[in-house]
């Protein structure tokens, strides 16, 4: 792990800005970049639409900036690698998506993001723009249930942006959109497992070290320490270990309808995630928990980190409605309930 990880980039210090250009081009006209800024916004935003602004550090593609699109985020403020975006980027992105109905800020709960988004929110509120903030706090490994405000946002972001984006398209008051987002975040729980580290191109250094026969359960999306570093275990055991923490936390109970996300942190194979899904479904079935929708894919990554996380959200009729709506962006497109 001594030498820098091989990556196909140009100047690593230009990677974020070049990535944003590539992302806007990949959206085939759906989005644009704010001139000179690391911010992406949707074209053709209707007047009077409640705006949804997402964002966070780069290096986790396709989240967040890859989730700007139809029935998803209206704009995204992008930071550098694993670093929250600066306040003026958030401020400009917010101004660009505002259509008179106020803006919901939706992002993962990290000190850096909280402070930078708050600074921007204060600037915008000074101008009389209505700003609400919902922070994603789905990582049960990060803090005990009584301290959810200390919990990180991980792959719960995928369901949060999907549902809040649909709500922001369908509902016409910021209060209502905020209410839906708060309900969703209150009902989502996740936990991940790390198998090998990712690295920041500029330093080329893996953000943590794991032995050849070790995994770490509960590790955060930046390699923040988890709950237990243990020997490599079979998929069924890992699936059970994650559910043992996730299910009691809400708790998820018999008869609940849920959405399930298995998110690839980067280099894990889909085969592994599907084998894990097999065991997860067996356990959920035993518990009488019914899965309404499953998503298995690569959305919140940590560069080439290997590992995955499991996210479960308890649904009601309203959350199901927004979850089942179609959506489209470079990073996430769904046909919607057929």
């Amino acid at each position: 792990m001594a030498k820098a990880v091989k990556k196909i980039l140009n100047d690593p210090r230009k990677a974020v800005t070049e990535m944003i250009d590539g992302l806007v081009l990949a959206s085939d006209g759906m989005t644009r970049r704010l001139p000179g800024l690391d911010a992406i916004v949707r074209n053709h935003l209707p007047e009077g639409k409640v705006a949804l602004l997402i964002g966070g550090g780069s290096g986790h593609e396709p989240i967040f900036h890859g989730f700007v699109g139809h029935n998803l985020g209206d704009g995204a403020a992008c930071g550098q690698f694993f670093a929250a975006p600066a306040p003026h980027i958030i401020y400009e992105a917010a101004k660009a998506v505002h259509r008179g109905k106020g803006i919901l800020f939706l992002y993962g709960n990290y000190a850096g993001d909280n402070m930078n988004f708050d600074i921007a929110a204060e600037m915008l509120q000074d101008e009389g723009i209505d700003i609400r903030t919902v922070r994603v706090t789905d990582d049960v490994a990060a803090a005990p249930p009584e301290r959810t405000h200390d919990r990180r946002g991980i792959a719960g972001d995928v369901l949060m942006i999907k549902i809040t984006g649909a709500a922001a398209a369908a509902l016409d008051s910021l209060d209502e959109v905020e209410r839906v987002a708060r309900k969703a975040v209150a009902n989502v729980r996740s936990m991940g497992v790390a198998v090998s580290a990712g690295s920041i191109p500029e330093t080329g250094k893996p953000t943590f070290e794991l032995a050849d026969d070790e995994i770490e359960v509960g590790m955060g999306a930046h390699g923040e320490a988890g709950i237990a570093r243990q020997k490599l275990a079979p998929a069924d055991a890992v699936a059970e270990a994650l559910l043992d923490r996730i299910l009691p936390d809400l708790p998820f109970a018999q008869g609940d309808e849920v959405a399930l996300v298995i998110n690839n942190l980067g280099a894990t194979t889909m085969m592994e995630m599907l084998v894990v899904n097999r065991r997860i479904r067996e356990v959920l079935q035993e518990r009488g928990i019914n899965v309404h929708r499953t998503e298995v894919g690569t959305w919140l990554t940590v560069q080439e980190m290997a590992g995955f996380s499991v996210t479960i959200m308890k649904l009601d009729a309203e959350l199901k409605r927004f979850l089942d709506m179609p959506c489209h962006s470079v990073g996430f497109s769904r046909m919607g309930a057929a």
Binding site: G57, Q80, G112, N116, T203
Partner: protein
């Protein structure tokens, strides 16, 4: 050295020296963040202080403007937690120097007190949570009875270093290191190290004496 403190030009010179010192230490800071964070503190601070150098090129008419420009450049270019807290350190500190045409020991004390208050508010932290605030608070206290600017910055730099040492025996309760819990023990806080680098660079600039400073003050 001159007890009359520094004028605007010297403050700009001093802040340039600070920026160069931080940029020189990028690897130290990154490695410290690799140990208990996500490994980007060094490159983030470098982004911020490279922008400081550029924004100070335009020069600064007043002392508070020089500190404010520095804070704005950090805030706009560093990102992450550090961008917010180090940007706030300088912008809050700048407010306490409004209208001052020279900065002396008393000015530094005001600056550090205001910076500490601003950071604590922005970060929602108190001392003991293993953050840069610990270095900042130690530095502020250490300056209480320094007679002149040189002594004041010597004390501040030394205090910051004590603060860095103190963070080693703290369990992080905010930021990316929080989830390490007990495992963060023994490691210094990266941001605290940055505070020490900044204050040491200010001390060195001032201590470098007559020709360098007094000259321009002459």
């Amino acid at each position: 050295m001159s007890d009359t403190g520094l004028g605007p030009e010297d403050v700009v010179g001093m802040l340039r020296a600070v920026a160069r010192a931080v940029i020189d230490r990028v690897n130290v800071l990154t490695d410290a963040d690799l140990a208990i964070g996500d490994g980007d503190h060094g490159i983030g601070m470098r982004r911020g202080f490279e922008a400081v150098l550029t924004s100070l090129d335009v020069g600064a008419p007043t002392i508070d403007a020089a500190f404010r420009l520095t804070g704005m450049a950090i805030l706009a270019n560093t990102g992450g937690a550090a961008g917010a807290v180090f940007g706030t350190l300088f912008t809050s500190g700048a407010k306490s120097l409004m209208g001052a045409d020279r900065i002396d020991a008393e000015g530094i004390r005001r600056f550090l007190a205001a910076a500490q208050e601003g950071v604590a508010k922005r970060g929602g932290v108190i001392e003991g949570q293993k953050t840069m605030l610990d270095a900042l608070a130690h530095a502020a206290r250490a300056t209480s009875d320094a007679a002149d600017l040189t002594a004041c910055l010597k004390a501040a730099a030394q205090g910051a270093q004590v603060g860095v040492e103190a963070t080693k025996s703290m369990v992080a309760t905010t930021g990316k290191a929080r989830s390490l819990g007990e495992r963060s023990l023994g490691y210094p806080d990266p941001g605290a190290i940055s505070v020490a680098i900044i204050l040491s660079a200010m001390r060195d600039y001032v201590s470098s004496g007559i020709d360098d400073i007094g000259g321009r003050n002459g």
